[in-house]
């Protein structure tokens, strides 16, 4: 009930394993935004899946792409492609997990006693959780019932290999989209988006772009 600090994005100065982090990494612009409408994000070498290893309605023969391709941290700042515009984003590390996100100016870090989140506000954010700490580690989709009522699959997100499903509380209310991040030798992570379903059009593209650029930070 206390111990909530909203940290400005500039507050994060401790970066591990990065000697030359001051120079913005402009040499590596992001690929165009994947808003989903086009269903084919232009990421380098799309990874095709023929096996039905993801849960959800079986769609045989449909190729899926990886949302997250490169977890290597390269510098404190990059630019993100948001709505076709390149916007600067600053790296923030997530408390208690060896990961971090590049977040644009309209997002901030929310620090809690037991971890942190990055978001547009307290109701619309990206969170991380170790899979083994979930209520149902064996049923990830069920684990997304963070109070949300209905489990479903979002067609737009089905293109991503990491997508494990969504939950929502009515058409206007809060929804959660889940993604499974596997990173060899480290605990499997659930990345989840929590936002209002009515705001999907504006929020989802931002969260996808931010998540696409998640980085691993050696603990």
């Amino acid at each position: 009930m206390r111990i909530l600090k909203i940290c400005g994005i500039v507050a994060l100065t401790v970066l591990i394993g990065c000697a030359n982090s001051e120079a913005p990494n402009l040499a590596k612009p992001s690929p165009p935004a994947t808003t989903g409408e086009t269903a084919a994000p232009t990421v380098p070498s799309p990874h095709f899946t023929t096996q039905l290893e993801t849960p959800g309605p079986a769609i045989t023969g449909v190729s899926k792409v990886k949302l997250i391709n490169d977890l290597n941290y390269t510098g404190k700042e990059i630019s993100l492609n948001l709505g076709g515009r390149q916007v600067p984003a600053t790296f923030v590390e997530i408390n208690l997990h060896p990961y971090g996100f590049y977040i644009p100016e309209n997002m901030q870090e929310f620090v809690f006693e037991d971890g942190s989140e990055v978001g547009l506000n307290r109701a619309e954010f990206i969170g991380l959780s170790e899979v083994e700490r979930l209520v149902n580690p064996d049923n990830l989709h069920e684990s997304l019932r963070f109070g949300g009522d209905t489990l479903f699959y979002d067609e737009e997100l089905q293109q991503f290999e990491e997508y494990i499903g969504s939950s929502k509380d009515g058409d206007e209310g809060p929804r959660v989209d889940g993604f499974l991040l596997k990173h060899g030798g480290t605990p499997d992570m659930l990345i989840y988006f929590r936002y209002f379903n009515k705001n999907k059009e504006s929020v989802l593209p931002i969260f996808l772009e931010v998540t696409k650029n998640i980085k691993y930070i050696e603990p």
Partner: protein
């Protein structure tokens, strides 16, 4: 739209309403008209049906009274409820009454239980006047966890009490429906509870850590120091200066 309440009449603030997309009031009293008042009346009818009838003699029945308006009968029934549950009997339904209603008839869709108001092993800080006022921003009830977790709390507290004649203060666990809470990053699985360290000496805090480490259902304790103990169950985090965050296995 449960948002931490499920079957029990919900209270909220602008901050919690923004979080869940709800429009709950911080309190309801005679004259209020709100959909949650109809829920409150249903709660009071249910509570009345499971408590001795002599408590309710001369109290107008709420049978068939299903409107959204908080009338004199609602107030009279609420006052009986408040007297019965050790609350100030002011006839106003706020976070304290909501907590007591949760404890009386609340149903967790997750199958969790509510941490007791007080036991020989601990007190629930959320149900104290101080705890309620500290929760003013969101007015949510973070008192829910799995029954194994609640048993573990009792066992930790009872063991601690046997050394120091002092009850531990249990603070936030989870919301009854496991909803994402604006006050914690985790606290959604029914196996995460905060224990306050207010008033504990170093020796007492060390003993509490020892008791946690020795408990088979304690998975991890996050605290600002190990107090010299060696255990991979203790995770040191500098911002945990005022409480122990305890994770249980089940």
């Amino acid at each position: 739209m449960a948002a931490g309440h499920n079957n029990v009449a919900a209270v909220g603030t602008s901050a919690s309403n923004a979080k869940y997309g709800t429009s709950y009031l911080a309190s309801y009293s005679q004259g209020t008209s709100h959909a949650q008042v109809a829920v409150l009346k249903a709660n009071l009818r249910q509570y009345r049906s499971i408590t001795p009838s002599y408590l309710w003699t001369s109290t107008t029945s709420l049978e068939g009274n299903t409107s959204n308006s908080f009338d004199a009968a609602t107030k009279a029934n609420l006052i009986v409820f408040q007297n019965n549950t050790g609350l100030t009997a002011d006839g106003i339904y706020g976070a304290g009454s909501r907590n007591a209603m949760h404890a009386s008839i609340g149903v967790s869709p997750k199958g969790w239980v509510r941490i007791f108001k007080s036991t020989p092993g601990y007190v629930n800080y959320n149900d104290t006047a101080e705890g309620l006022s500290a929760d003013a921003t969101y007015k949510l009830d973070h008192s829910w966890c799995t029954s194994a977790c609640r048993d573990t709390l009792y066992s930790l507290g009872y063991s601690f009490y046997s050394y120091y004649n002092k009850l531990i203060q249990v603070n936030d666990a989870c919301l009854l429906d496991g909803a994402d809470t604006p006050e914690h990053s985790t606290h959604q699985t029914g196996t995460e509870v905060d224990i306050r360290n207010a008033g504990l000496t170093t020796a007492q805090a060390t003993k509490f850590l020892e008791i946690c480490i020795a408990n088979a259902n304690v998975k991890r304790v996050i605290y600002y120091t190990t107090h010299g103990l060696t255990s991979n169950k203790i995770l040191v985090q500098s911002d945990h200066g005022d409480h122990f965050h305890v994770d249980t296995f089940s």
